[in-house]
Amino acid sequence: MRRHAAFNRASKLAVPVLLLLAAAIPWLTSNPYYLDIVVKVFIWTIVVNGMNIIAGYTGQLSLAHAGFFGIGAYTFGLLMTKAAMPFLPSLVIAVLVTGLVGSVAGMISLRLKGHYFAIFSLCVGVVLLLVIEKWESLTEGVRGLLGIPIPKIGSFEFASMTSQYYLMLFFLVLTMFVNHRIIHSLVGRTFIAIRHSEELAEALGINVMRNKIIAFVHSTVLAGLAGALYAGYIRFLGPDIASVEHSFDMLLYLLVGGIGTLWGPLVGTALVMILMQWLQSWQEYRMIIFGPVLVLLVLFLPYGIIGTLTRLMHKRRLGQPLTQKQAVERSVLHDQSLAGGGE
């Protein structure tokens, strides 16, 4: 019991320590290459956080998220370049537009269940990609959207690497905080109930469709936010950012870190992206190694890194009375039929 309390104290400290560490990174390294990787990790973690809500907590495996990332990025990019709007309004509108498209897509696609939803959402993603690619008069198609201005709030320009870093860090922390609050709220528990069994949730008086749409829209909003931030950071857009492979990448990050866990998206995205950078010099052999590693990972570490760690800890603490929060976490972990489960 004492060790349990000590552990709780330690985990309370973990978040402030991590935040301090994250805030200190630009002072620890001035190497722009490292900072660039970390910034990209932050951006992708935001989308993966969104995917986690719909796929991990609500159990609906959406493969359309690269498409929504693309909508966010292009809406932002077009507003900044062609409409010459300032940074913040562009960002807000980009997020709203993505959420709007997401709610329409959600209303149609969430009527399907299991694998049908997964495949349908994959097709929604392809439609979004093809629209971005072929609507040349608006998006410049494969030529790409060039010359997105540097993000600016008031008179402050996010021109330096460090300022971009703090911008992304702010939105990442915000995203994770919101997700944390959702997961531990009634809404979050409703999502988990839907993942366990839609029929059972329905019988409890939960409006399943409405809650699934809420989860889906929230996840697309995060995808749109990440897309807009990406556009403001890279300042060049090509249609391939919306390609289906990126949805698979996101799923991969999520699974490596631990699907249905709060920290999984960050850990998975960071680990895989850094590993990929590390293997960069291997060029064409990279995927030859990476493909089988992925297969081995799902074979031997199916709950991801965070999922496996929490499982181990719960096993050690077994027999002790659980607090309500832990009970929720455990029910998350004990659920075998994650997203895309049987019909």
């Binding site: 149609i108 009527r111 698979f248 699907i259 990476f290 493909g291 199916p302 049987g342």
Partner: protein, 294 residues
């Protein structure tokens, strides 16, 4: 020539092209639907098996100087083995894991196969020259021999598959398991053997489809991606696990693409499949030939 006749000829030309496209789609979708019926696994790597099939045929012809048909046979046999190997090494151990895991594993296989193809054969677009390049004319519709061969070969393969599933003992074990897993166990069917065989057949069909289509398309490492997505559209519409659904859906999509490509806008040809899917599922969320209620 009066305009009406030309219009008719253009229309028939598009019908033939649609049948050619549809034949390819149907063969690929058949493989995916067979695997889904047995293992409840959406095999996202199927398009990459298709790609591998095309490269193997090309390889056999260019390096070993095999004739077209011999090369196809070798490629189909090789993919049959590769399919079985994948089932045994990757998908069978994952059968009891959450479904999302086998989808991820399929993505892993996909990345691996594409990287191997890039390493072995480079990223260039390649031509596969078939000996059947001659143009023949049927009722005013000009068509290359290769296209006729695709249509006919696809029909032969489908009839052969149907006979195999309905008339042979080993084929009916596949059908039995697709219909009722527990029931199949009760009568002593070995599930592992059936999944192994199904994967082999599905991969073999993909190789056959790719080798037939290669002379009219190009061969490149990511050639399977779009075919794969469209095959998934087909089986969602046709009902996942449904064999007639895959065949009919394949032809419908082929015809819809070819006709809309001519009369609407060829730029958006690839969109047709996905728009059809979204429209139909908006009106009728159970698909066209739903095997079970969802």
């Amino acid at each position: 020539m009066p305009l009406g006749v030309m219009e008719m000829e253009l229309f028939f030309q598009q019908i033939v092209n649609g049948l050619v496209l549809g034949s390819i789609y149907s063969l690929v979708a058949l493989g995916i639907t067979l695997i889904y019926g047995i293992m409840q696994l959406p095999n996202f790597a199927h398009g990459h098996l298709y790609m591998l099939g095309a490269y193997l045929t090309l390889w056999m012809m260019t390096i070993y100087g095999f004739r077209y048909w011999t090369a196809i046979l070798v490629s189909v046999a090789a993919l049959f083995l590769i399919g079985m190997l994948l089932e045994r090494l990757v998908f069978r151990p994952l059968h009891n894991a959450p479904h999302i895991n086998s989808m991820i594993a399929a993505v892993g296989v996909m990345l691996f196969l594409e990287a191997v193809a890039r390493k072995l054969w480079g990223s260039d677009y390649r031509r596969l020259d078939s000996p059947y390049g001659e143009v023949i004319s049927v009722f005013g519709v000009t068509i290359t021999q290769q296209r006729v061969i695709i249509i006919v070969a696809a029909i032969i393969l489908m009839i052969g598959l149907n006979l195999f599933l309905k008339r042979t003992v080993i084929g009916s074990t596949i059908e039995a398991m697709a219909q009722n897993r527990e029931g199949a166990f009760l009568v002593g069917i070995d599930a592992n053997k059936v999944s192994l065989l199904t994967f082999g057949i599905a991969a073999g069909l993909a190789a056959a489809a790719a080798s037939l289509a290669a002379p009219i398309n190009l061969v490149y490492p990511s050639m399977g991606a779009m075919v794969n997505l469209k095959a998934f559209v087909i089986i969602v519409l046709g009902g996942m696990g449904s064999i007639p659904g895959a065949v009919i859906g394949g032809y419908i999509l082929g015809l819809a693409e070819s006709i809309s490509g001519t009369y609407i806008n060829s730029e958006y040809k690839d969109l047709v499949a996905f728009v059809i899917l979204i429209l139909i599922l908006t009106v009728k969320p159970t698909g066209l030939f739903a095997k079970e209620a969802r």
